[in-house]
C-alpha cells in the first residue's frame, strides 16, 4: 500500500500512509486511538475506497472494490465485531456468503474439511455445533477458519485478543505461527504492546493518521514502541497510593439478575466496596459482568437482591436516584448507551445535568452558554480532540468518545464509579489518562467497581481482585501478577478452594 490517503468529514484518517507486507510474516499495526489503523485495513479489505494512493499485490497495481473482491484476491479480515449467524451451525456459517458454492451445499464435505483445517491449525471446533452455543474465542476461530476455507493468504486480525482469556490468546498465537510458517501473512492490529512484541516479526506504528515508522521486532523494545505511538514516554507502571480504604460505601447482597435472553446472568452475588477502594472484577466477557453493572446502576431490574449505598437501600431501576446520590457509570458500549450520536458534544456532556446539577440551573431556563463554556474547559482538560464543542458526537473516534463519557462521569466527583472496560479500544496515551483519573478519584475517596477483561489493568489499578464466572464470584486474590494462573483457573470455572 503506497501513499494511502483517506479523509472523513473533519478528520484526515489516513494521511499518505505506506505499508508493506511480506510473505510469511506477522506484521503488527500499532497505534493510538483514531490513529487510522482500522481505516487503513478497511481500505485494504475493500470496505472504504482510498481518496489517494495505490495498492499493489506482488507488484501489480490493483483496485479493491469490495470485501468480496478482496477475498478473491486472497485477503481476508476478521473484524472486531464478529459477523456470524448465531442460529446456524459452524459449517453453515463458513459457507455463508461464498458466491461460488452453487445452489446445493455439500455439507458433509464442508464439515470434514473444516474439521481438518481446524485441527491442522490448532483451532479445533465442532463443525456441527450451533454458533450461539459457542464461546467468544470459538466464534473468532470460525471467522478465521472461514477465511482459511476461502483460501485467504493475507489475514487481517483487528484487535483479536480483546475478547479472549489468556489461555485462548495462547491458542490463537500458536495458530498464527502455524499459518505464517506455511507461507500465509498476518496483519495484527492491536494496541497491546506485550502481545505485539510477543507475536510480530515487524511492527508499523501509526499516529494521528500518519505513518511513524516500520521496525523489525529484533531492533525494538517496549519503551521505544511506546514513544513511537504517543510521541513521548508514558509511565504505565506508576505507584498506587497505599492509603487504607475507608468505610463501606457500596453493598450488593444476594443479587440475581437476568440477561436479555431471560437467563440468570448474575446468581445470588454479594460484594462490597469501601471508600477509596478499587475492586477489580476479572472474568471472560459474558459471565454476567454487564448485567451486574447495569443492575447496580439501575438500568436492569434484578430478580431479587439488595443494593445499598452508604447503608441506604436503593430502589431498583431508579437511575435518577443513583445519579443524584453520586453513582457514575462508564459503560462498555458508549456509543449505544452513554452518548447521543446526533447531539453536540456540549449536549452529551450535560446529558445528566438535570440530576447531577454540575451547572445549577432552572429547568425553564437552560443556560447553554454556561454549558458551552464548561464543555470547552472539559474538552481541553480531558484532551478530547474535536473540531468544536458543537460537533455531533458520532464524529468522534472511539477513544475521544470514551474521554467525553469519562469527562461527564468524573467531573461531578462521584462517590461510586462503575467502570466497565474503561480502556477498551483506547491507546496507550488515553489509557494512562484513564488510569490516572481513576486512581485520583480513588484517592479522593470514591468507591470504584472496575470490570475489565485485561488482567494487567486489574492488577495495576485494583486493591482487590474478584473473579467472576457464570454470574458468581469464584474467589478473591490480591492484585499481583503471581496470581495470574489461579485467576485463569477461576475464570474458567474452578472454585478458589479447589485450586488451593
Amino acid at each position: 500500500m503506497r501513499n494511502i490517503t483517506k479523509a472523513f468529514p473533519g478528520i484526515l484518517a489516513n494521511d499518505n500512509i505506506s505499508f508493506d507486507l511480506r510473505k510469511g510474516e506477522v506484521h503488527a499495526l500499532l497505534g493510538e486511538n483514531g490513529a487510522g489503523k482500522t481505516t487503513l485495513m478497511n481500505i485494504l479489505f475493500g470496505i472504504y475506497k482510498p481518496d489517494g494512493g495505490e495498492i499493489l499485490i506482488e507488484g501489480d497495481r490493483v483496485s479493491i472494490s469490495s470485501p468480496h473482491n478482496a477475498l478473491k484476491r486472497g485477503i481476508g479480515m476478521v473484524q472486531q465485531h464478529f459477523t456470524v449467524v448465531p442460529s446456524f451451525t459452524v459449517a453453515e456459517n463458513v459457507v455463508l456468503g461464498l458466491k461460488d458454492m452453487g445452489f446445493f451445499v455439500n455439507t458433509k464435505s464442508v464439515e470434514s474439511s473444516i474439521k481438518n483445517l481446524g485441527e491442522s491449525y490448532g483451532l479445533p471446533v465442532n463443525p456441527k455445533a450451533r454458533v450461539w452455543t459457542l464461546s467468544v474465542g470459538e466464534k473468532q476461530r470460525i471467522e478465521i477458519l472461514k477465511l482459511l476455507y476461502t483460501g485467504a493468504k493475507v489475514i487481517i486480525l483487528d484487535e483479536p485478543t480483546a475478547v479472549l482469556t489468556p489461555q485462548e490468546t495462547e491458542v490463537l498465537f500458536r495458530a498464527i505461527r502455524k499459518l505464517v510458517s506455511e507461507g500465509s501473512s498476518v496483519i495484527f492490529i492491536s494496541h497491546k504492546l506485550d502481545e505485539v512484541l510477543q507475536i510480530s516479526d515487524r511492527v508499523t506504528v501509526l499516529r494521528g493518521g500518519r505513518f511513524v515508522g516500520t521496525e523489525e521486532r529484533s531492533s525494538i523494545d517496549r519503551r521505544s514502541l511506546v514513544r513511537m505511538m504517543v510521541g513521548r514516554d508514558v509511565l504505565l507502571d506508576f505507584e498506587k497510593s497505599t492509603k487504607e480504604p475507608g468505610t463501606t460505601v457500596l453493598e450488593v447482597e444476594d443479587l440475581t439478575v437476568k440477561n436479555d435472553k431471560n437467563l440468570e446472568a448474575v446468581k445470588s452475588l454479594s460484594l462490597n466496596i469501601r471508600s477509596g477502594e478499587i475492586l477489580g472484577i476479572a472474568g471472560v466477557a459474558g459471565n454476567g459482568q454487564r448485567e451486574l453493572a447495569e443492575a447496580i446502576y439501575g438500568l436492569r431490574k434484578p430478580v431479587h437482591g439488595t443494593i445499598r449505598l452508604n447503608s441506604k437501600t436503593l430502589r431498583h431501576t431508579d437511575v435518577a436516584q443513583r445519579i443524584r446520590a453520586g453513582v457514575a457509570f462508564v459503560p462498555q458500549d458508549r456509543r449505544a448507551l452513554a452518548t447521543c450520536p446526533s447531539l453536540s458534544i456540549t449536549e452529551n456532556m450535560f446529558m445528566k445535568n438535570a440530576h447531577t446539577k454540575y451547572i445549577p440551573q432552572s429547568p425553564f431556563n437552560v443556560d447553554f452558554r454556561a454549558m458551552q463554556k464548561a464543555t470547552e474547559r472539559l474538552v481541553s482538560e480531558y484532551s478530547i480532540s474535536t473540531p468544536s464543542t458543537k460537533t455531533q458526537a458520532r464524529f468522534l473516534s472511539g477513544g475521544n468518545l470514551q474521554k467525553l463519557v469519562l469527562a461527564r462521569e468524573l467531573s461531578t466527583k462521584p462517590t461510586v464509579i462503575i467502570a466497565e472496560h474503561p480502556t477498551r479500544g483506547l491507546d496507550v496515551g488515553a489509557m494512562e489518562f484513564v488510569y490516572k483519573s481513576l486512581l485520583a478519584h480513588k484517592d479522593r475517596g470514591a468507591a470504584i467497581l472496575l470490570l475489565a477483561g485485561e488482567l494487567y489493568e486489574i492488577f495495576r489499578l485494583s486493591d482487590r481482585v474478584a473473579v467472576m464466572y457464570e454470574g458468581q464470584i469464584m474467589g478473591y486474590t490480591p492484585p499481583d501478577p503471581k496470581y495470574t494462573e489461579e485467576i485463569g483457573f477461576m475464570m474458567a470455572g474452578s472454585k478458589q478452594e479447589e485450586i488451593a
Binding site: Q321, R322, P331, A336, C340, P341, S342, K352, F364
Partner: protein, 371 residues
C-alpha cells in the same frame, strides 16, 4: 469512466432548504402531467389542455396570496394546520409518531361544542367562555392522546396504529352526535349542531374574515420554540429522540416522557379543534375538517419540527388548500385530485430526503481490471 452512487457521510446543510423546494417543484411538475391528462380528456386537444393547465396553475398559485380575500382565506386555513402541526412536532421531536392529529382535532371540536351549547351555556362573559372552551378542547385532545400514550408506555403497543385508528373513532363520535342527539332541530335536517352563542365565538377583525385564533397560533409557536430551545424538557426530549437507551442511562423516565409528549401533542391539536369551532365553524358539522390532521403531518415534517417554520409552512399549505378550492370551484376539478397533489408533495419530500443522503460520483480511474 464509471458512475457510482455512494452514501454521503454527512448530509450537507443546504439540503434542508433545497430538498423541500425541489420536492414541491417535482410535485408540481408531476401534478402538471396529471392535470394535462385530465384536461386533455375534457377538452380534446393538447394545445387547449396545455393552456388550461397553465391557467389553472396560475390561478392556484397566485390567488391565495395576491388579493385581500385570498390572503385572509389562506390565513384562516393556516390556523388549524398550524395548531395540529405544532402539536405533532411536540411528539415527533421524541420520535413518537402521533398520526392522530385529525382525531384529536375532532375531539377538541366536540368538547368545545359540548361546552358552548350545554356545559357552559349559562356563562355570559365572552372572555371566560372562550377560556373555558379552550381548556375543555385541549383537555379532550389530551385525553384522546392519553389512550395511545398509556398503551405505548405500559404495553409497548405501536402508537402509529393506535393513534390512526382512534381518528376514525373520533370522527364517528362526531358523526353520531351531529346526526343524532346534538342535531339542530332548526337545521332543516342538515347534519350539524345548533350554532354557538355569540359569547362563544372569537372576536373577528377585518370585516369578519379574520379571527384571533391566528395570534394564538403564533404565540404558541414562539412558546414552543422557547420550550424546545431553552428548557430542560426541550433538551431531554432531544436525548430521548436521539437515543432512548442513553436517555434511560441519563435518568430520564421514558414512560413519563412518552405520556407527556403524546398528551401535550394531543392537547395542542385539541385546542386547534376548539379554535376552529370558535373562530370559523361556529357549529359542529359532519366532516368539518378536510384532513387538517393529516396535512399537518406533512407541514410538521417540511418544517423539520421547528415551530416557527411550522407557521410558515402552514401558511403555504393554507394557500395550497385555498388554491385547490379555487380549482375545484372554477375548473370543476374533483376533490380526489387535490388529495393526489398533497400525496405527491409528501412522496417527493420523503424521496428527496432519502436521495439527499447519497451522492453521485464519477470515477475516472477504473483502469485496473478486476481479474
Amino acid at each position: 469512466m464509471k458512475l457510482r452512487i455512494e452514501k454521503r457521510l454527512a448530509v450537507p446543510r443546504y439540503s434542508s432548504i433545497l430538498v423541500p423546494i425541489l420536492s414541491v417543484a417535482a410535485a408540481l411538475l408531476l401534478m402538471g402531467i396529471i392535470l394535462l391528462i385530465f384536461f386533455y380528456g375534457r377538452l380534446g386537444t393538447l394545445s387547449l389542455a396545455f393552456k388550461e393547465t397553465f391557467e389553472a396553475y396560475k390561478e392556484m398559485l397566485t390567488w391565495p396570496f395576491a388579493n385581500r380575500y385570498g390572503i385572509f382565506s389562506t390565513l384562516m386555513r393556516m390556523v388549524p394546520l398550524a395548531f395540529v402541526g405544532l402539536g405533532l412536532s411536540f411528539a415527533y421531536r421524541m420520535k413518537i409518531w402521533n398520526i392522530g392529529g385529525e382525531g384529536q382535532l375532532y375531539m377538541g371540536a366536540l368538547a368545545a361544542t359540548w361546552g358552548a351549547l350545554y356545559l357552559f351555556k349559562d356563562v355570559t362573559s365572552p372572555v371566560l367562555m372562550i377560556l373555558l372552551i379552550s381548556v375543555l378542547g385541549a383537555a379532550a385532545g389530551g385525553i384522546w392522546a392519553l389512550i395511545p400514550a398509556l398503551m405505548k408506555a405500559f404495553a409497548k403497543t405501536d402508537e402509529i396504529v393506535v393513534t390512526l385508528m382512534l381518528n376514525y373513532v373520533a370522527i364517528f363520535w362526531v358523526d353520531y352526535l351531529v346526526y343524532g342527539p346534538w342535531k339542530d332541530p332548526k337545521g332543516y335536517g342538515f347534519p350539524g349542531t345548533a350554532p354557538f352563542p355569540q359569547q362563544a365565538r372569537f372576536p373577528t377583525l377585518f370585516g369578519g374574515e379574520f379571527h384571533i385564533g391566528f395570534f394564538l397560533a403564533v404565540v404558541l409557536a414562539f412558546i414552543l420554540f422557547y420550550v424546545y430551545r431553552r428548557t430542560r424538557w426541550g433538551m431531554n426530549s432531544r436525548i430521548v429522540g436521539d437515543n432512548a437507551q442513553a436517555a434511560r442511562y441519563s435518568g430520564i423516565s421514558i414512560i413519563k416522557y412518552t405520556i407527556i409528549a403524546l398528551v401535550v401533542s394531543g392537547a395542542i391539536a385539541g385546542l386547534g379543534g376548539a379554535v376552529q369551532m370558535m373562530g370559523v365553524q361556529h357549529r359542529l358539522q359532519h366532516g368539518f375538517s378536510p384532513g387538517y390532521g393529516y396535512t399537518a403531518i406533512i407541514v410538521a415534517w417540511l418544517a423539520k419540527l421547528n415551530p416557527i417554520a411550522i407557521l410558515l409552512v402552514a401558511f403555504l399549505f393554507g394557500g395550497l388548500l385555498v388554491g385547490n378550492d379555487q380549482l375545484q370551484m372554477f375548473y370543476k376539478l374533483p376533490m380526489a385530485l387535490i388529495s393526489v397533489f398533497q400525496g405527491l408533495v409528501l412522496f417527493s419530500l420523503l424521496g428527496g430526503e432519502a436521495i439527499a443522503k447519497y451522492r453521485l460520483r464519477v470515477s475516472r480511474e477504473e483502469a485496473v481490471t478486476n481479474e
